[in-house]
Amino acid sequence: MSFRADGVSVRIGSTTLLDDVSVEVRPGEVVAVAGPNGAGKSTLIGVLAGDRRPSPGAVMLAERAVAEWPRLELAHRRAVMSTDRTVAFSFTAEEVALMGRLPLHGGDPTEADRRVIGDLLAAVDCAHLAHRVFATLSTGERQRVSLARAIAQVSDVTGAIADARRHADARRHASDERYLLLDEPTSSLDPAHQHVAMRLLRNEANRGLGVLAVLHDLNLAAAYADRIVLMARGRIVASGSPAEVLRADLLASVFDIPMLVIPHPHLSHPLVIAEPRS
């Protein structure tokens, strides 16, 4: 049981965006992908999502190549939160979040779907924004609603399955492994909401979801991820537990800035601080 990229490479002309990258995320796991700008993190998300075809290399979900999954079945198994926050027309936040359930209801959301959306909007602290027009929300608020939409696609499916109107396929695969790919899900959030979002992802993973998230904040990755994949210039330079990957010398060379790594004063993971050059 896993969702993985096996030796994937992506080249555009003579530029290499990804060079022989292999990553794996299993149900119940939070994997953080970190690295400087241009390291290939978003390209990796694109490859895993099936938007970009690697060559060479393969992306496998439950031992079946992503390119061979029927679209709808793939949508039942994995959701993607990209960095695009534009939604045309004056859809409300609730309507946008409800679109995440489309693969499950096919156009007629049930009470169960609405309940899941209500719970998720509350979980990302957006219950009060449900009836606001999505396009008029702040960047951070839109990011939280988009997070709720992405989670809704692959979460709380079992609760809704009792409903006889469920899509037959969704019912059949109710107990199957599901994954969530996120490209910088916390980039516009204030500190409190960064932790709200990460705690929610951690809880979803604890309930069986496989989560792979691109994160710039190494301390968020240290606090919530089981493993950190560190990328630079299209390659993976380190992969392992936060304690294994967050080493001052390694981070300094990857990010090209001195890094202070100390034990967190009252938590069990390391604390990372970039130090200005003197």
Binding site: D84, A88, S90, M99, A135
Partner: protein, 334 residues
């Protein structure tokens, strides 16, 4: 409800006035029911031969333009798309003019086969024009609204000029005038037009409504819709075909009537809701009502002179478009 009232009132207004009760009496008399209300033979002839076909055609064309607007706006993810303005209407008009010329040459003009030929040519040409605009305005999963408007503008001007050329070269009154094709008119509508339009517009609207939830997801972006399990390429083709059918059918009956496709869906979105299924059905209703009312005004405002229907819709719609542009300015610049 509003639509029924508008239709009944519209059937009664004109040089020969017919009251709602007289309309009821004529219709019931037609199926053999006696009513206490008296009506003249002239009223009966005017109603059945002229008013009924005209009002029904107007309602169908209004519904067709309004839902064509919904389709195109859904496809381009912007409320600023009007197929009548960005080349599809002009393409359909050219197709219809060529189809008419072919029907004249084949001697089947004003026959059902001729009507089918004209409508088919209009739909085909609308699809071709739509494909050109889409090709120019879309790149790697994104559609550029400003490019769509500009490309549509140029294509529209080109196709109108080409239509004028065809009409001048054709030298037959059956081809209609440039003013008819570019401003629209319901004055020559006959029963066969209504039948043909109804057979085409009804199913197209229903299919579009069925695609509604997928168009909602498309509002998130093409790759986001793909992540939700939607075959975006297929959806694009389906919506483009429906768009061409609705535009072509509307133009074949009454020429290009601009701005209905722009105004009606915007009003429905603000009034009833955003989901495309609701917007499609609501726009069909409101579009029909709106054009029936506009046609009554077109033939009664300067009576006995009849205005082109497009003159009225443009006088209303162009300022509305500018207002929409003003509201969307921030989004366009982005």
């Amino acid at each position: 409800m509003l639509l029924v009232v508008a239709v009944v009132v519209a059937m009664g207004i004109g040089t020969v006035a017919i009251a709602p009760v007289e309309i009821a009496a004529i219709l019931l008399g037609g199926i053999g029911l006696e009513t206490p209300w008296a009506y003249s033979e002239q009223q009966e002839t005017v109603l059945t031969a002229i008013r009924i076909p005209r009002v029904l055609a107007t309602a169908l064309v209004g519904a067709a333009w309004a839902t064509a607007g919904v389709a195109m706006q859904g496809l381009y993810r912007t409320p600023l798309a009007d197929p009548a303005l960005v080349g599809l209407g002009a393409g359909a008009a050219l197709g219809a003019a060529l189809g008419t010329a072919a029907a004249v040459a084949l001697g089947i003009v004003a026959e059902l086969a001729g009507n089918v030929l004209v409508a088919g040519a209009a739909v085909g040409a609308a699809f071709a024009a739509g494909a050109v605009v889409y090709r120019v305005a879309s790149a790697s999963g994104r559609v550029m609204v400003a490019t769509m408007l500009l490309a549509g503008l140029a294509l529209s001007a080109f196709l109108v000029a080409l239509t004028a050329l065809v009409l001048a070269a054709g030298r037959t009154p059956e081809l209609g005038s440039v003013a008819f094709w570019t401003l629209g008119s319901f004055s020559g509508v006959v029963g066969a037009d209504v039948l043909l339009a109804a057979l085409v517009v009804g199913p197209a609207v229903l299919v579009l409504a069925r695609l509604g939830p997928r168009l909602d997801a498309l509002a998130l972006g093409e790759s986001e819709a793909g992540h939700l399990g939607i075959d975006v390429g297929r959806l694009t083709v389906q919506v483009s075909v429906i768009l061409a059918i609705l535009t072509g059918a509307a133009v074949a009956v009454a020429g290009v009537v601009a701005f209905v496709a722009l105004m009606v869906p915007a009003v429905v979105r603000a009034w009833v809701g955003r989901p495309h299924r609701v917007v499609t059905i609501g726009s069909a209703m409101l579009g029909a009502t709106f054009l029936v009312v506009a046609d009554v005004l077109a033939r009664s405002l300067l009576s006995p002179t009849e205005l082109s229907i497009g003159v009225l819709t443009t006088l209303l719609g162009a300022p509305f478009f500018l207002w929409l542009l003003l509201r969307q300015r921030g989004l366009l610049a982005a």
